[in-house]
Symmetry: C2
Subunit: 378 residues, 2 copies
């Protein structure tokens, strides 16, 4: 159940709430990613203290290890990872891209200027996947073993995992795929969307369809219209985007164009502060991204004034918290100088404390955006 509580008058932004069996998700919301049934380095108690309402886990990884059947025997993902609040699982389709063609192309999800260089650097990476009408044949990134996932398998796996929101199986194309291939993949994704809907039996889960179409306006519009007419509980926008340019419509606008206004919309795997602001204005309700924890483990803290490199020698004697006025556990108790020492010393606590701060930062960024929408300021 999705309820829109307030719509912005200046943009397509809105504030709402997604009601699930495991509690509400107040939108706009950011979901920390717990790829392998754990948000890296953070306990559920710490996530809860931060105020996180929902996390996203990866179907592909959990299918391979420990296996969805194992998790089912533990009573589902909520019990397995001790997270009683809402969980979202993706369809596994993105990993077909990121561990297959995407790896080959050296591509990420938002196209930057250095992609041609990366493409060259990654030439020769082995192709792990074969895409057919029935689904995807691939080798495990863990041990090279052979596997198959089609729409029916993806839904069955996600039903075993038991998340509150699950996604239809899709093919996520590379930003380097041409119009012809992107269209072919999109049409296949549309057929898979219908098969996913037919396969889905657990009515306690919300099933979201995914819009693809790459960077091509005509394809994004077509995909949006097709997927938007199917009986999904919400929608995900997948694949690559060009950089957002102020006041200029882009792939995201076209991808939303045909979707029903009153259903929740998730932007898959995108979570930079800048992109979130632009996407919320275009009508996106929820986000997920590994960035806050990945940056945190690597020594980068998110702040309102931009990123801080916590490994910097300048911070040796810095007695300030990562961010003045931040209410997180890290900023309430530790200095930049101490955290720098922890990074210098290779201590686990370095990544833990910085990840806590970064997740708190994202959670409160979203709360601020939500508040602004509710107050009519955004």
């Amino acid at each position: 159940m999705f309820k829109i509580l307030k719509r912005s008058k200046k943009s397509r932004a809105r504030a709402g709430v997604i009601e699930t069996l495991h509690g509400p998700i107040h939108t706009p919301a950011f979901f920390p990613v717990g790829t392998k049934a754990t948000v890296k380095g953070i306990t559920p108690a710490q996530l809860n203290e931060i105020g996180v309402e929902a996390v996203l886990s990866n179907t592909y990884h959990l299918f391979l290890r420990p296996g969805d059947q194992v998790i089912k025997k533990f009573g589902g993902l909520h019990k397995f990872m001790n997270w009683p609040k809402p969980i979202i699982t993706d369809s596994g389709g993105f990993q077909v891209f990121s561990l297959g063609l995407g790896l080959e192309h050296g591509a990420s999800k938002i196209v930057g200027p250095d992609l041609e260089a990366r493409k060259k650097r990654n030439a020769g990476v082995e192709k792990f996947t074969r895409i057919a009408e029935e689904g995807v044949y691939f080798r495990s990134f863990l041990d090279g073993s052979r596997h198959f996932i089609g729409p029916e398998e993806s839904i069955r796996i996600q039903e075993n995992l038991g998340a509150d929101i699950i996604f239809a199986f899709d093919e996520c194309t590379s930003p380097f795929s041409d119009h012809e291939y992107t269209e072919e993949a999109m049409e296949r994704t549309h057929r898979w969307a219908k098969r996913s809907l037919n396969a889905h039996k657990r009515k306690d889960q919300m099933l979201f369809g995914i819009v693809q179409g790459g960077e091509f306006k005509d394809l994004r519009l077509k995909s949006s219209e097709f997927i938007g007419k199917l009986d999904f509980d919400g929608f995900g926008i997948g694949g690559a985007f060009g950089k957002f340019k102020k006041g200029k419509k882009n792939e995201l606008d076209w991808a939303i164009e045909g979707l029903p206004e009153n259903k929740p919309k998730h932007l898959l795997g995108i979570g930079s502060v800048e992109d979130i602001f632009e996407a919320v204005k275009r009508g996106i309700d929820t986000f997920d991204c590994v960035t806050p924890t990945r940056l945190g483990r690597n020594g980068t803290a998110l702040t309102k004034k931009g990123n801080i490199n916590l490994r910097s020698a300048k911070l040796v004697l810095d007695k300030k918290p990562i961010e003045n006025g931040c209410g997180c556990y890290t900023c309430s108790n530790f200095t930049r100088g101490y955290i720098r020492h922890l990074f210098q010393s290779g201590e686990m606590l370095a990544g833990i404390l910085t990840s806590i701060h970064n997740i708190y930062f994202m959670e409160h960024l979203m709360r601020g955006i939500r508040k602004d929408i509710l107050n009519g300021k955004l």
Copy 2:
């Protein structure tokens, strides 16, 4: 201030309390080790929730990084690491052993049957240290830079760190050192003990002297008598020991023999469950050891029935907590099967959850021993 509340009638065990400016330490007590100003993987909030009263940090490591002067500028170690309860620092002497001669000899602190093999394996490890009358010249294990620490330097560093209990500078000999060398080192440690006492100015810190003498009865008795007569606030027993044999006196008994009964006694760096029981009966009040966190990170959990290997394939579907009836955060919320999955997946949370359990186990082991002493059962 040390107060003995109850003495056992069957052994030299006693229950007491060490009062420090940062709060009480109820003894017998186990101190988790925070070598580099952090107990690996655990936040101070988690340590506090476990009920830990005090932690031990390493002077040698903090002297090299970030430097005692840096920590002094943060207001001392308590503020730097955000641990407002008691802190103990060792003298740095043990690292002279473990990163110098001990490394060369492949020796650990309790002599096991495989030491000859280890000695051979480690032959050729470079000697990092040179011990002279004035103190120890050594190279940093971080960057090879040259340093010197003598008794006056050790005390000055420990005053800058500002722990509640600090130790006199000592030379910890290898179990392979012969009687002649062990005696020479012990005599030097005695002279350093006096110099440490003279150098110590901060009267808000308790200064403990260290008994050495290796595995030799005559030297242990001699060291105990000499150090026991000096005006220390408590005592540490350093160096190697043979295995405890029931009902048989060993180096530990001789090392305690000459020490004043009414002062606290710390057994440096020893923390196996078996050894703790034996040492408490012989009159030891406090312990420190990296074992609970090191084992925890490597996948071994401590339980009343012995160690559990959490990586074992047998645990895939195990829905039990690490230990039935354990009240720690980990056992209250997570299954062995989940923690096994985390170890298999190389996730940080694996080591975090197991370390929390292991520290809780040690803390409650000590509380049990204390209770038994207070009730006259031990």
